[in-house]
Symmetry: C2
Subunit: 334 residues, 2 copies
């Protein structure tokens, strides 16, 4: 038995509209006395706004819908959703996600979502990639998170991969490292961009970026967790020649984990012999490695927050691709 504005109105001996005005501070003006009294009664009766009813007039529910491209199964989801949530909360909005998986199409997920009449819709990808959104949804989807809309029809928020690689490489150079090898993740958009930043930093630092060592972490064209790892053999190889590296940059924290094990096998110590750095900041891994891993944290939360801001902005800004900076997390591996 839920209670409504009507119940309060009856109890207070005023009209429903007065109650509505008193509680939600709308245009309606009334004596402070009345307003206070109504609020007390509402409190006492345990009144809770009915958003569904409100939405009948407004046309929308205070919800931000997220089309989660496989995202919900990923630990990275938490950052994006969390950021979105904290950005939305300020405007009294809630976030709800629907997974786009298997054979479901964007159209079908959007339709399902639309039944709830969300105020705004975002599309979020599990890893940085290009996504082609059918033209008819360009209006509906307000922002792409962690992915770039292939035809730039929608504002996209993506991690600044090249910038992160540049920053981390500079950090290694500043730490006195002179021979940095990069074990990258093959076949990913992020990897391509990071490689550019890596080589650029070397060039700027007076080294030959084009000549730098960049090796694939796995023996497949595209990195995946299940692919056969090449990390051990690469590290062994790298450490067996006179020109051994004094730093290894890793495509992600899991690769770094393997590099740790491989270096240990070679008898090399971290960071004295070889510094190790990486991308992601999967906290459970990075902080638990010995020594704790220095890594560029993916800006998942920041992208989420920014997305909320864009979605809830008064006026629709022009479409653009926004690169969101990583955050350097200094631990002890450099």
């Amino acid at each position: 038995m839920t209670i409504s504005l009507n119940d309060i109105a009856e109890r207070a001996g005023v009209s429903v509209k007065t109650v509505s005005g008193a509680l939600h501070g709308g245009s309606a003006r009334m004596s402070d006395d009345t307003r206070l009294r109504i609020r007390e009664i509402a409190e006492e009766l345990g009144y809770v706004t009915n958003f569904a009813a409100r939405s009948m007039r407004q046309g929308w529910m205070p919800l931000i819908g997220v089309i989660a491209d496989e995202l919900v199964t990923s630990p990275f989801a938490t950052g994006i959703i969390g950021g979105l949530d904290s950005g939305a909360r300020a405007s009294d909005m809630a976030v709800f996600a629907m997974t786009l998986s298997g054979r479901r199409t964007v159209a079908s997920v959007l339709e399902e979502m639309h039944r709830f009449r969300p105020r705004a819709v975002a599309y979020a990808a599990m890893y940085h990639k290009r996504v082609e959104l059918p033209a008819e949804f360009a209006e509906t989807v307000g922002v792409m998170i962690n992915c770039r809309e292939a035809n730039d029809r929608v504002t996209s928020l993506v991690p600044d991969e090249a910038g992160a690689a540049l920053e981390m490489t500079n950090y290694l150079l500043n730490a006195g490292r002179r021979n940095i090898a990069y074990i990258n993740l093959p076949g990913l958009l992020a990897s391509e961009l990071r490689e550019i930043g890596f080589r650029q930093a070397l060039d700027q630092g007076g080294f030959n970026g084009a000549n730098a060592t960049v090796l694939p972490a796995v023996n497949r064209a595209i990195y995946s967790d299940r692919a056969q790892s090449l990390v051990h053999s690469h590290v062994q190889q790298l450490m067996s020649v006179p020109q051994r590296p004094d730093a290894i940059l890793c495509g992600n924290d899991r690769v770094a984990m393997e590099v740790y094990a491989a270096l240990r096998r070679c008898g090399a110590t971290i960071p004295d012999d070889v510094a190790v750095a990486s991308f992601d900041n999967q906290v459970e891994i990075a902080s638990r490695l010995d020594p704790p891993l220095t890594t560029m944290a993916l800006p998942h939360r920041a992208m989420g927050r920014k997305a909320a801001q864009i979605l809830l902005a008064e006026d629709r800004a022009p479409v653009e691709v926004k690169k969101i900076p990583f955050r350097l997390v200094e631990r002890l591996s450099v």
Copy 2:
């Protein structure tokens, strides 16, 4: 400009109610011809049900609300929410979570949630613990996930910790291990229960459970990721005496990761010299360790699915505590 039943009714030259019946197969009967024609028009116009409007009559939205006790920040969230989602989808329900964090109370989160008029509400914890739910919410919250309501006022779904430890210990014994040390996580409910299962399995196997070695992973009363790790020194100690263990059971995968590193330092190989096994199955870690880690997977998805089932059941079953079994994931560390 969204289109409504009314628009379809006009276009089809029938009443709204007929359209409603045609689309949602309600009690209304009509010629197959009419029904088909209406459906076609709806399709053509791009009609999408308005749940908010429907809820005005039903009294609830087809939503399952989840009070997420810090959960959303955890990678474990994904299993629980994912399971809930897949369980709910069958009934055309969506799941939405609200985080209970910082200074927010259950009451305040429930109130926020209630504004959306969810059909059912679950409470989910990040790690297995006891939760005292104020009595007045016992009716509102339909099920507790990954936690036990302190006064058994609400049906609770918890991982079968003791059973999991028993199973894993038996697995080690069956693999021929005779001297199993257990590096446990101090101060957690899960740990207490697992220790019981561990000792029980040893007793049943003809070993002296009461005498078995159980060591704390960190030097604090309660395990946390930030506490100072004791794993290295424990392993060194264990391996330096004549009665070295031939298996180490770990409180979680991160501890196992440290055990791997420590064993490697001691020159011991896994699993030949020492088998390693653990709890959690954090896939990114467990599958990436070398050798891949054999571990008991927490039943997060299963709890989520079961929760959906309980919440959406026709009639409310009597309150109980349901222990959900872990799943043994065999890899190569045993």
